[in-house]
Amino acid sequence: MLAYTLTRLLYLALVLVVMSVLIFLVTQAMPGDVASMIAGQFASPEVVQAISVKLGLDQPLIVQYGRWAAGILHGDLGRSLVLEQPIAPILMEALARSLVLAVVALTVVAVAGIGLGVLAAVRRGKLTDQMVSGISYLGIAVPDFFWAIVLVLVFGSYMKLLPTGGYTPVAEGVLPWAAHLVLPVVTLVLMLLARIARLTRSSMIDVLQTNYVKFARAKGMPESVVILRHALKNALLPTITVLAIDFGLILGGVVVIETIFSYPGMGRLLLFAIQRHDLPLIQATILVVSAAYCLANLVADLLYAFVNPKIRHGMRTA
């Protein structure tokens, strides 16, 4: 297990390096020039040139990358051109809000999705199964932004039950904070629930046909024990992986949903940076988002290995 984790961490570091180079190169190719943006629309070419020299933008790309990367390693993500603030605190704040969204939404998805999936698998082919399948189809049939609009319309505009957008910090009261979370979370759940339920259902059906489930029944175990202790434990492996990856996705910002609900998470920050051509902010955000995604992938693999005794032991002895 330790050797495996070490290898994966080493690999993650490598991927992050490659990614940072890619991000740096791509953002360099973006239209817009940092020096002229700082100087403003009406600055003379001399002024722009001066700023360029001052920021080191006239130096070769490799040197610029080196300075940028070195800064990141020291925790310095640079300064936002548009917001005119250091990027790190802004990013941390957005990341924290995305984290809240991810934790709440995925808890709901995990509980409901696994429950529905197991139910559908156990009652395979019966009415319950078909109903779960039907609901699953609804969830995946329509893009998340469409659900978001419908939810805003129904709960916000017509029923006036919930705020349709924005965010208030917990400090200003738990209730308003929670109220702002409800609609984005429900949208996310609608989007993710179907996949988790279907995945759990199909792996559960596979496991229910295995010999060890048959043997558990031959031992006279009641169905509840067969399903929960013998089958579910093995059926959950793929589901756990997908949940962890989804976690990374939400952490990295769900651009569309955050935009619709004006939720100030990573996604909205990224879109804001791109729309305003704030190159340092774009670079930093994309890097953090990708790192979060990679990390979630790593956690997914480690979790998978940890839950699966076969892999866990194989790695210990290897």
Partner: protein, 711 residues
């Protein structure tokens, strides 16, 4: 003799005086059991009107080939038929109570408690996510209301009872950390836990190696005896049934064709099918036949009650009556029943024999250079030289310094258990895997090297017949397309000529030429294996590797294929490398044999010599583990091997040292054993002196005489 009353059990209660000590009320009494499966193409009758009874303390064998319905019966007793399976009618009386009348919860309460089961594949029967101890404890906690702590104590007792030396470690282990034999012991411990009255054993040793199988069977026999257990023993292996069962019921096409005491049924079979099944079994002791008696055709599937004798289409004794009237069970004394109206008339008639005897050949006179020469072959899998120190691996030694030759027209058998490296040897010979060291010469040319250089011409001369007849044919190509391709590659003839060649090849392997238009899934397993052989023959090869080519087939089909292979050898002068785990098959078909263990050759020589002392200790153990029929002579004292030891190979000593019952000491672990020649090319690699090895009594004293001599 009377006909059994049809309405009641198929096996009427026989008027045999019961043992005085206890009443003869059967523990399990199955009557008129009919089971069907709903499939996409309508219902399939898996079991028709099956009846039998098991007395307390009796082990009854339920034998039959695939599709006979034997496992279905076992699952019906357990109420675990699975999706689509339905008991149409019949009674399953356990201690006098019809299980079918019980509520599901009541049946569940019996399962694992009074009726326990052990299934075929121990690895898949254990839950990979739970420790072995926990899985054994489950029924104890459930049925016997033990606390987890009490259960843990009992688990260790049970593991000790099934012959596991360190119960504590095994209880804490996960299934994948145990060997197959240990896993099966754990399953048996689970079944014994609640002290059941009846064991359902569904092919409990089929997935295991022969030496492990022998130990498990001995254990089961001992336990049934000491616990006064009754068992329903489902198996396809007559030798195993002979070893453990007091009575036997033979199923064919979902119908009981014969039942009776094991000794009588196996030595004097009454039903033609039983006769054929026993005759078709390759045996070590029987006089070597040029051809095995075989049962033509394949099992027919029923969709309703049988309208004729189910076996009539394949029966050489069938008459018009057989094809128009369903047969009824005819009971005789001593619990015997036969479903054949001609049984009495056929009492002294045995199954037709197709060929004469064929004395075993000794070493062939060296006429010319051997066809295949293998020198110091070595193959290591999974070696890795990563820059990360913790990812470096030495790899697993699959084949370790193996040398041998195959003469033209010779059949060389390779016998070994799983992990012996026997398949790797075959693949290396055909340049399908690159040897890590050593040379493989085919007719004097370095085969792997030629292939590496892109020269594939030798491929036409050396071919392979696979074990899995289904997987070796591309499902999306017709038989004709599959067979034509080697001809195209060899540039033989135009389309019309190739078509004729394909038709000729199909005829040669005993299939209608029209089969060229069929897809593989439209053929039976035996037919597919014939297609595989025909395809291998397409380019007139001189050498064919048969890698477990008959292992996946039923006995009756296996005999057909073995006969076909023997016939082709005689007609075309083919050489075979015959790889198998079944020493009886090798004894039947091979001229010479290599016994391999852990990637090394333990013993080699003419078949007749290898079957007699002096034996390599592993050969001796292997032979003593072979299940045998009554007429093969009484069972010898079994040489018991540990279920498994460290992964063998590549440690400098003898590969077998870890499991060897006759290990001398450190010398076996540290030094490679010397290879000593007895005579006639018979060599043994062992530290024990030949004279000492020769002192052992023969495992098969009744070997047919004179066959060790060179022709």
């Amino acid at each position: 003799m009377t006909t059994a009353p049809h309405t009641r059990s198929a096996v009427p209660p026989v008027a045999v005086p019961a043992p005085a000590s206890r009443p003869a009320a059967p523990l399990l009494d199955v009557r008129g059991l009919t089971i069907s499966y709903g499939t996409g193409r309508g219902t399939l009758r898996a079991v028709s009107d099956v009846g039998f009874s098991i007395l307390p303390g009796e082990v009854m064998g339920l034998v039959g080939e695939s599709g006979s319905g034997k496992s279905t019966v076992a699952m019906a007793v357990l109420d675990l038929l699975g999706e689509g399976g339905r008991v149409e009618s019949g009674e399953i009386l356990f201690r006098g109570t019809d299980l079918r009348r019980l509520a599901p919860a009541e049946r569940r309460a019996l399962r694992g408690d009074s009726i326990a089961a052990v299934f075929q594949d121990p690895f898949t029967s254990l839950n990979p996510a739970l420790t072995v101890g926990r899985q054994i404890a489950e029924p104890l906690i459930r049925h016997k209301r033990l606390t987890p702590r009490q259960a843990a104590v009992r688990v260790e007792e049970l593991l000790g009872e099934v012959g596991i030396r360190d119960p504590r470690r095994v209880a804490a282990a996960y299934p994948h950390e145990l060997s197959g034999g240990m896993q099966q012991r754990a399953l048996i411990a689970t079944a014994l836990g609640c002290e059941p009255g009846l064991l359902i054993l569904d092919e409990p040793t089929t997935a295991l190696d022969v030496t492990v199988e022998a130990r498990i069977i001995d254990l089961l026999a001992k336990l049934c005896d000491s616990h006064h257990l009754s068992a329903l023993f489902v198996s396809h292996n007559l030798g195993i049934v002979n070893r453990i069962c007091q009575s036997v019921t033979v199923l064919y096409g979902g119908v009981v064709v014969e039942t009776g005491p094991t000794g009588r049924v196996l030595s004097r079979p009454a039903h033609p099918y039983t006769k054929g099944l026993i005759a078709a079994l390759p045996r070590i002791t029987a006089e070597r036949r040029a051809r095995l008696p075989s049962i033509p055709g394949t099992v027919a599937k029923l969709s309703g009650p049988p309208a004729a004798c189910v076996f009539a289409p394949r029966c050489p004794f069938a008459e018009e009556t057989c094809r128009s009237h369903p047969q009824e069970m005819r009971a005789e004394g001593d619990g015997t029943g036969v479903r054949c109206w001609k049984a009495d008339a056929l009492a002294t008639t045995s199954w037709p024999d197709e060929g004469g005897t064929a004395p075993r050949r000794g070493a062939l006179p060296a006429r010319s250079a051997p066809l295949v020469e293998v020198e110091h072959l070595r193959k290591i899998y999974g070696a890795s030289t990563s820059i990360l120190p913790w990812l470096r691996r030495a790899g697993t030694v699959a084949v370790d310094d193996v040398s041998f030759t195959i003469d033209r027209g010779e059949v060389l058998g390779v016998v070994g258990e799983s992990g012996s490296g026997k398949s790797t040897i075959g693949r290396a010979l055909l340049a399908l895997t690159e040897p890590s060291a050593g040379t493989v010469l085919f007719d004097g040319a370095d085969f792997p090297q030629q292939v590496r250089r892109g020269d594939q011409t030798l491929r036409r001369r050396a071919q392979l017949v696979f074990q899995n007849s289904a997987a070796s044919l591309n499902p999306r190509k017709t038989v004709g397309q599959a067979m034509e391709r080697p001809l195209v590659l060899a540039g033989r003839g135009d389309a019309e000529e190739r078509r004729r060649t394909v038709a000729g090849l199909l005829t040669r392997v005993g299939l209608p030429a029209a089969y060229a238009d069929r897809y593989p899934h439209e053929l039976s397993g035996g037919e597919r294996q014939r297609v595989n052989i025909a395809r291998a023959l397409a380019t007139d090869p001189e050498f064919v590797v048969c890698d477990e080519a008959v292992s996946a087939l039923d006995v009756s089909v296996q005999a057909n294929i073995l006969n076909l292979l023997a016939g082709l050898r005689d007609e075309m002068g083919l050489s075979y490398l015959f790889i198998t785990h079944d020493i009886a098959v090798v004894a039947h078909i091979a001229d010479r044999v290599l016994v391999v263990y852990g990637g090394t050759i333990c013993e080699e020589g003419p078949v007749g010599r290898v079957l007699r002392p002096p034996y390599h200790p592993y050969t001796e153990a292997l032979l003593s583990a072979v299940p045998r029929l009554a007429e093969d002579g009484s069972e010898p004292p079994r040489i018991l091997l540990e279920d498994s030891a460290l992964p063998p190979g590549g440690r400098g000593g003898c590969a077998f040292a870890g499991r060897c019952p006759r290990k001398l000491g450190a010398v076996c672990d540290e030094q490679a054993p010397p290879v000593r020649e007895t005579d006639q090319g018979h060599r043994i690699a062992c530290h024990i002196p030949l004279a000492t090895l020769a002192e052992r009594a023969p495992v098969f004293p009744k070997l047919a005489g004179g066959d060790a001599a060179a022709r």
